[in-house]
Symmetry: C3
Subunit: 369 residues, 3 copies
């Protein structure tokens, strides 16, 4: 309609290279609102409402029409309309509307959310698994015998059909400090200690480092939680610059920096500095709502365009799986149309970069199809 870039963005299929399941049972409105706050681990205060945030406003602006409501319907109306639809129907409706051809699903944090078959059945998209390294470690701790061997066996088995691994080191002590490969003896000793303590929730640094280096050796892309997340993660310790020494040793295995806010410029620098480093805006795009275009623009600074990917990081309310795509399409349109208007980019360049970020980079790096 006079704007080929907008038309292209309306139609382009996305690869959502980092996402989780959607809720099978939403529960109360309060539970829903807690699901719209990423950082807070307490229940929302009585005086507050997650609808009065950029994310809440974006849900009302972009998700309301999928419930048959006008854009910007108020919170009560939105909640009422949403409550009249089953969780299963909500999941399918929002995920289908995202225009995603491939979902790369991190199955490491899955209580109460859709599993892979459910996502496959409902959405029409292809499903690929991302294996969480800390879950592999916790499985290995529960096995008898050699820890390293158990880890390797489990990693190999889980990764047979998987496309990537993922580390939440940011939540298990942070990215700061030595991330070199431990020796076999150090791993044995650490595993013994950890098992003796019960072998639950891995925070042992030696074993975390071990897992990362096993993932490097595997060669499949290794995703890292970076920046914005819940407050159990010390945001300062999730700055990707702490990975510098690790990246200097990482060889050729692709390393994917996820979300990155408010360190997206540092992440972009790393994507320029290392042939194997990539980044996305992940869930920050959802949480920034009307402010997401500015963030998407900053992702397009130092990072080479063949190193930037799309993801929603949707978890819980299926609105997030859809909204990430809707906001990304709008935001990158606004940014690239500005570049074209200022004669800094050609219109054809803008379309080409959209394709790179929407799916080409992900298809190449994850070897999809």
């Amino acid at each position: 309609m006079g704007d080929p870039l907008a038309e292209h963005l309306g139609a382009v299929g996305l690869i959502d290279h980092h996402v989780h399941g959607y809720w099978l049972h939403t529960g109360s409105r309060r539970a829903f609102e807690n699901g719209l706050n990423e950082a807070n681990t307490d229940p929302l205060a009585a005086f507050d409402s997650a609808f009065d945030t950029q994310l809440g406003f974006a849900v009302r602006a972009h998700c309301a029409p999928l419930l048959g409501l006008p854009a910007h319907a108020d919170a009560e109306t939105y909640w009422a309309a949403r409550s009249a639809v089953s969780d299963s129907e909500l999941g399918q409706r929002f995920l289908r509307a995202a225009g995603v051809t491939d979902w790369l699903v991190d199955t490491g944090f899955g209580d109460g959310v859709s599993d892979l078959p459910t996502m496959a059945a409902g959405t029409g998209g292809r499903i690929h698994e991302v294996v969480r390294l800390e879950a592999v470690a916790e499985h290995a701790a529960a096995q008898p015998g050699d820890y390293a061997g158990a880890f390797d066996a489990e990693l190999a088995q889980r990764c047979r059909g998987a496309v990537a691994t993922k580390s939440i080191l940011a939540y298990r002590g942070g990215l700061r400090g030595d991330l070199s490969e431990p020796t076999a003896g150090e791993v044995r000793a650490a595993a013994q200690r950890w098992r003796a303590e019960g072998g639950r929730r891995l925070t042992d640094r030696v074993l975390l480092r071990f897992g990362l280096h096993r993932a490097l050796r595997l060669g499949k892309p290794l995703q890292f939680h970076i920046g914005f997340g819940d407050r159990d993660c010390d945001l300062d310790a999730a700055n990707p610059l702490h990975l510098l020494s690790f990246l200097r040793q990482a060889g050729e295995t692709p390393v994917m920096l996820l979300h990155c806010y408010p360190f997206e410029r540092e992440a972009g620098y790393l994507a320029q500095a290392f042939n194997n480093v990539y980044l996305d805006g992940g869930l920050a795009i959802n949480y920034l709502g009307a402010r997401s275009a500015g963030f998407i623009a900053r992702l397009l600074e130092m990072a080479p365009f063949r190193k930037i990917l799309y993801s929603s990081d949707g978890f819980g309310p299926p609105e997030l799986h859809y909204l990430g795509a809707a906001l990304w399409r709008r935001g990158i349109h606004s940014v690239l149309a500005g570049f074209v208007r200022d004669h800094e980019w050609s219109p054809a360049d803008a379309v080409r970069v959209v394709d790179l970020i929407a799916h080409e980079n992900a298809r190449r790096v994850y070897r999809l199809e």
Copy 2:
């Protein structure tokens, strides 16, 4: 005039939740210019002029008309017109023009500036006191007997009519490091040491921590200087992320992060992560002048809209008390009108968020009226 949001912003009454007195005696033009530089503790260099900054340009753009001059009057003309008006008249004229209904005045740094009765008499606004914790400590050090008891008595007495406490920990060693509550024995020993050294300018870490936890117990909002200030404060050590452990222990007492530049995105994250954390842009808005809209926009990223407040942090030249309000009204109009134009927000949402930040959030959290 065709723009209901602009009309609303022109009329809405503000609560300036963190401000100081204005100068009773300006002195020379050089002294005035030094008053327009926050960070520098030396006199301005001979080659420089504080008029050649964003703040200086903003003073000429927005304050000149209140002196009967055209906008952008040059520095010499501005200074001449200002010098023809008494300090008392300047104070009243600029403060009245700010459209502020309530001033929450930090009285901890008050040499040469208006006291509470003067501000009350001149401005037509209600005056509320904010008590500086370090001043309470320094008073307690000068009392005989038990330090903790003297601190508690002084804090209780000063806070009877006050609405909040304030900490300038950022200037007394910074926010880094352990901020847990010290034991009674540690406090006793530290007080003894400090008193033996003369009991002036508190920098003892144990006693600073003690004061913070007493303020938490009091339950009135606790304001923290964050980020941008003068160079006696190590900017890096004023990053609000250093407060993470403290906030995890802070319970329900509201914690107000002031100014925040250039860490406003980190502060916004904390406001999402903790039910009791709030933020403002404070004096950074004045110092950013023509660039303040972008900063105001970043304050509207991760922070829930019920957690954002307005303040000028005006101190010294009464231009600052007015200019903070003028720039905030213009800046947030530009930001929110953009959201509405892009169909991300409804016009009614924009008006509602203006009211939250202008006065509703402050009224609720400080329990005004």
Copy 3:
């Protein structure tokens, strides 16, 4: 042509206060592309192209016309046209087109690039030398006898005709930690140690600190690499806030913070906080391409307008010497025109600030002419 600010910016002569030589022999297309990536020290990956970056797009947009091509000519066409022109002609064509009257050339990193006479002959601009402190130290290490004396003699000799010194401390261990002046005994001992190890590539902290303080005493502006550079430099350790203690001791010698990305707001704060601190955007402007206007705007936040300078930091492909100027002219036009349109600045103020940054500040601080 209706826009006096644009006309002024099209014509204003620039002082490029930090730049290097241009390539005398480009080599292969791959070598050229590696020259368009600052951060990566490895050869670019096979799947990647430096043309698919903001810098690559900016080269196609702004440099193509100087090769007789339309703006946005594709990479193959650009490379073919460029290959048809000699390196010498490329250097002269791009440097002349930059509209630079004075080049301040850092000669510390000069293999394979134009020397001062070549730059003088080719460009029509005046050439001034900037002396690298680490090169002075490495020369002194190779002399017999007292290290400090050899350093001082070499510094004095090299600086006779030079306008400034430069430190790449960011690449030699980073800016963190003690930067106080070492004692004569410490210097002697450190020099002995270093000479015993061969006296190559200086990373000894004592001798680095010694060099900085010698440069301070000399009184000529001291340039620091800050922020964005190649990955041998730990970006985190190149944050200018680490210089705080050093700046508190630096006296009146001008300290120039170069590039600064992504710490430009921190650098601007330091420029406000210290009478002798200045900043520029350096090579970050080139690497940000279509995003450079936003960066230029952030340079105009806390920094007084008499403390901001222009540089390209061009090294290697002479496109960079031209593009820095072209992007700066476009970017600052867009930023300042916005301020004027919003009635925050007067048109005359905008022209005056352009002159300050383009050449007046550099002329004053480097005492040119």
